[in-house]
Symmetry: C2
Subunit: 340 residues, 2 copies
DNA sequence: CGGTGGACCTAAACCGCTATAGTTCGGGCG
DNA sequence: CGCCCGAACTATAGCGGTTTAGGTCCACCG
């Protein structure tokens, strides 16, 4: 038989389609005995619900949408996203919900996809990442009326619930650590200035520097690419009074920076300490392994999945959720600076 | 209005639902004038098709499935997949087809997902990667009757069409290059032996070694992880007569190997030449940058997308498609071995 | 002038499932 | 004994499209 439908099961069981539907969905309306019989037949016929038919009756689509706006060729080396994705996956598939993924060129295209998927009933909710400073997506999502969850914050994200971690706190603890080692000139290779978390980290560094009385604490914005990470590192290391420590906003940039240091004959950690704001295999496989802010990105993904599913079930009941602050994992790329 | 349906449009236009459907899908049955009027109204009402309703009528689901079987926490740093994914994305979304992604623990779970998605009509076809030696997925997919496309080959993949690149040829050219530099003891850190492409590369190395009369050409199987890559490298470099060149089956392992060499004080490329079988940003950001086999993985993804869509349109018309052989990009990690 | 055929549409069935308004029937109660 | 009620089902109406079997109307032909 091609594809059994509940009508087939009903015929086989000698009951109506409605009874079968009741039985299969565990709702009252059939006796325990009949339910068992129907479930048995369904099992035997290897029946599975037709997702489209379910979705049509106004029910759930059984999928969550994630749209990433970045030039298509660049999701190359971003362990963070890959990890997040796995966690999200795991969390969703535990409740047999699928992840609908799409990579687009820019935010305008991203918004267009939100509109389309929402009106096509293709997904039950959206996960939004890379929160921007004045994020145009927020208003659109609020208006679409589809549950949406923001990854990132705190900060302006309208009425949408969010899952976030305290990267201000993380930055402060990192600077404290470097200052305790004796560093007085610290540089920060930041990410895209349009992102809220970039701004938060820059501010945290500035505040820390003031409080600790550091000689220098410079944030250099980049586009997160290895190329800009390398170029900015080269520029910093060429200056007459170069920083003794650099904090990189991503592992990819940190590794690229390490490469530049080696190429220029700058010893790590002897002449330069390096800290990565993201941890991943990447920071561990290079030599020396990098001191980094670790967090369980996979678990974060699962967390997001759980919260998303809760938001789908009842949008009112979900509120902002704070994740553990990333903790510094000290490896071999940081040390006290050489005495001048 | 909540969500316009074709019935709303029909009412507005004063025609039947059927006429609207004809008009919107560009099929004969309505006059050019009426069609324009209907399209105008649909545009004005901001109508979008309800994907579930479409799928229900036996039509396409508008999505392609990709299931990856790997322990969820490990898709961390695999630039190859990320790149492939972007290309796939780009190719599919150009024909407004979505990508349904799922990461599962093992092949058994993967097969279960194929079954479920096929019977739920959730996707129109599958892309299969990581072809194994005796791959149990092939038979299942053939039997499910859903178009499926294998990435990898040549080799046994039943009647399913495939898109592949010649990694035998690539391995041979790499070994030729190293031999020309003067290397006589070459090691190969291979991937999982269960994969067809691993076997092909191992065989290619063995054949090359025999033809060129190399002193040693050893393939060491690993699980593709950075940890095993590092461990195997350490073991190789500890031997009394160590290899003068190592070919790594993935960029992650190559970078990990480079880290081990540095840690052990083995100069690259002075004492050891390193070649990576995958190219990515990763191989470029480390120091020294690694010689690697490059291919346009993004383009490969697009290619797969195109072929997949063709297979969905007409499964009969699609045949195996060979992609350009990866070409060696020489960087600074390879050089002639020190004279003994 | 009846018949024919094509262009343009309409009405209605159908896809698989859910939701809801009956219908049947057995049993408790006054 | 008749009445009412709840449990267990059945019958049926959608959900939003696509598709197919007609139904008109009109030009054209013999």
């Amino acid at each position: 038989m091609a594809r059994p439908t509940i009508a087939d099961i009903a015929r086989q069981a000698g009951v109506s389609k409605g009874a079968v539907s009741f039985a299969l969905n565990g709702r009252p309306g059939v006796s325990e005995e009949t339910r068992r019989r129907i479930l048995g037949i369904a099992e035997e016929m290897n029946w599975r619900p037709h997702s489209a038919a379910r979705a049509l009756g106004g029910a759930k689509a059984g999928a969550v949408g994630l749209v990433l706006a970045r030039p298509a060729r660049t999701i190359g080396v971003e362990p963070f996203f890959a990890q997040l994705l796995s966690g999200l996956q795991a969390g969703l598939s535990a409740h047999s919900t699928a992840l609908q993924l799409m990579v687009v060129e820019d935010t305008a295209a991203e918004i267009e996809v939100y509109r389309r998927w929402a009106s096509e009933h293709r997904v039950d909710g959206f996960v939004v990442v890379d929160l921007q400073v004045r994020d145009p997506r927020i208003a659109v999502l609020e208006q679409l009326g589809v549950p949406a969850l923001v990854l990132g914050g705190p900060g302006r994200h309208g009425t949408l619930p969010s899952v976030w971690a305290d990267d201000r706190e993380a930055m402060i603890s990192t600077v404290n650590y470097l200052a305790a080692l004796g560093h007085r000139r610290i540089a920060h290779l930041a990410g895209l200035p349009a992102f809220q978390h970039t701004q938060r980290r820059i501010r945290a560094l500035r505040d820390s520097a003031k409080r600790l009385g550091l000689t220098e604490a410079l944030s250099v914005p980049t586009d997160f690419s290895d190329a800009e990470g390398a170029a900015a590192t080269r520029a910093l290391l060429t200056r007459s009074r170069r920083p003794t420590a650099i904090i990189y906003d991503s592992d990819v940039m940190a590794v690229a920076g390490l490469g530049v240091a080696m190429e220029m004959g700058v010893a790590v950690p002897g002449d330069l300490s390096i800290v990565s704001f993201d941890d991943s295999t990447l920071t561990r496989i290079v030599h020396p392994p990098l001191t980094a802010l670790s967090r369980d990105t996979f678990a974060l993904g699962e967390q997001v999945a759980r919260t998303m599913l809760a938001a789908i079930a009842d949008p009112e009941a979900v509120h902002d959720l704070k994740n553990p602050t990333p903790r510094l994992t000290v490896r071999e790329s940081t040390a006290a600076p050489r005495p001048e």
